[in-house]
Symmetry: C2
Subunit: 303 residues, 2 copies
């Protein structure tokens, strides 16, 4: 048997089209569009290309998008004042500060200064708390876990009563996805186990999983015989394991990426599986767009 | 084999003595003591007796304690102003609003008005978020889960690498204790599974547990054959299953309490177990005292 591929690239297109349609509808009815600002400090090339992709995507779905680039020597005070300006800007529904930021600025202080109701990344402690409390409290699920949940649901995998095993307990993926899937309600209500570096028999746990979510950052950690036949396998790992010449330009080297799961063998056992790359990766920016739309909808009282 | 009893009544005494000693030391060094205010609205007898116990305990450990009783028809505005007063009172480190509060007042609005740095109950979304993020972010673990963790540690049960199964996903017990025990660090680093009403094979999960924490509110839910021989069983359930004449005054009826675990049979299988009553119950107010002390220590920069 060969597993069905859960392609993030395809699901992204579906969701972005849905968002585009909803933005158009809101614009017609309410005369406003979601506004997203990305604050970039300095000229880190990786950050610049990531921010460019966010802004491009925001533009594509019809958002107002603002790219606010600041010099690398901006003071903490000025950065906080800038955030305050956007906190008070009615046309802005989502504020992002692209990480990393320079060492002379207190990262935690800056992120906590963002109005939690515009924190579309969902990492402010208030939004982490709202996520764990769940139900009507939930405002902005963090983007990668939200993308994982969406992929599982759209792949037609049943979460209700499913055995879910999450490998990894990071604040960005493991803990939030575990807390999301154990809640009551649609796309959740699963029995959830979190395993991590302190776990003694990780393989035994993985073997029980109807849905196995791996976010450990260890290439090939999950062996094929850890996978229950027919399980849904979500591989969040994106590990650079080497370099190879680019297809487009053979003179340029590009990273060779590998997931946390031994994909080639795992796909013969799993029922459905995400590839790396092209799996979970494309979902993150997509869900950032959805959170920004949610933010406007909360404000309009239509979420 | 008969299990060791983990007696909350005894552990409470140890911890209250430790707190008393620490309060005396801080008073000598810094000239201040922790201050706790309990806001009680109306004259609900159960609330009154619970508040009295809190105030008595605060007095016993050397806190400044304030019992602020308000009429049942207090307006939401006046209650919010009262909370604001205590938020700005330097001698107060912990603010409690005794629940339930009258229907004409928005409970969520009131609880969220408490300064998160004085929210010693730990239920403000900011504190829930800090708990899930963990590490140095953690400020006030909610009292019942904190009591459970303390009991496990003081009973000498190893949490590091242990299989923990939590039965129940409430915001008061199940979710927070699960999130606490899966963190890195002392008294934690366990592999955690949460089972709940949506779980298909609850018994199978419970049988794996080195530490089984039951907070379902269903009398006798956990059967003896669900318990792994030698496991540590923490029974959080306090279910009123009937009435009986009081020992002190046979003319007065008192509640017959039963846990979520079939205690008489379970104690022959478990390695250690909490009784009901006298197990987890006495820990809640104890940990409230500890959180109030923590609040002062954070303020003094000595936590």
């Amino acid at each position: 048997m060969t597993a069905t591929l859960i392609k993030g690239t395809e699901i992204r297109e579906q969701i972005l089209e849905e968002i585009t349609a909803e933005v158009a509808e809101i614009k017609e009815k309410h005369g406003v569009v979601p506004g997203l600002v990305t604050i970039l400090i300095g000229e880190n090339p990786a950050s610049m290309s990531y921010v460019t992709l966010k802004i491009k995507t925001a533009h594509r779905v019809g958002f107002k998008e603002v790219q606010d680039t600041q010099p690398v020597d901006i003071s903490e005070e000025d950065l906080l004042a800038l955030i305050d300006k956007y906190n008070n800007d009615d046309t802005i529904n989502g504020i992002l500060v692209q990480l990393p930021i320079p060492d002379h600025i207190d990262e935690k202080k800056v992120l906590n200064a963002i109005d939690p109701d515009k924190d579309v990344d969902g990492f402010h402690p208030v939004n982490v708390g709202r996520l764990m409390i769940g139900g009507s409290e939930l405002k902005f699920p963090p983007c990668t876990p939200a993308g994982i949940q969406e992929m599982i649901v759209r792949a037609g995998v049943e979460t209700n009563g499913a055995e879910v095993v999450v490998v990894g307990r990071s604040n960005i993926v493991g803990k939030p996805i575990a807390n999301m899937l154990l809640q009551k309600g649609k796309g959740a209500n699963s029995t959830v186990t979190i395993v991590h570096t302190g776990t003694k028999n990780m393989d035994e746990h993985c073997k029980r999983a109807d849905i196995l979510i791996v976010a450990a950052g260890v290439p090939g950690l999950v062996k094929p015989d850890w996978i229950k036949p027919g399980a849904c396998v979500i591989d969040v790992g994106v590990n650079r394991v080497g370099e190879k010449p680019s297809k487009k330009d053979p003179n340029k080297m590009v990273a060779v990426l590998q997931g946390d799961v031994d994909f080639d063998k795992a796909k013969e056992i799993a029922g459905s599986i995400t590839p790396v790359p092209g799996g979970v990766g494309p979902m993150t920016i997509t869900m950032l767009m959805r959170n920004t739309l949610r933010s406007l909808k909360f404000k309009l009282g239509i979420q």
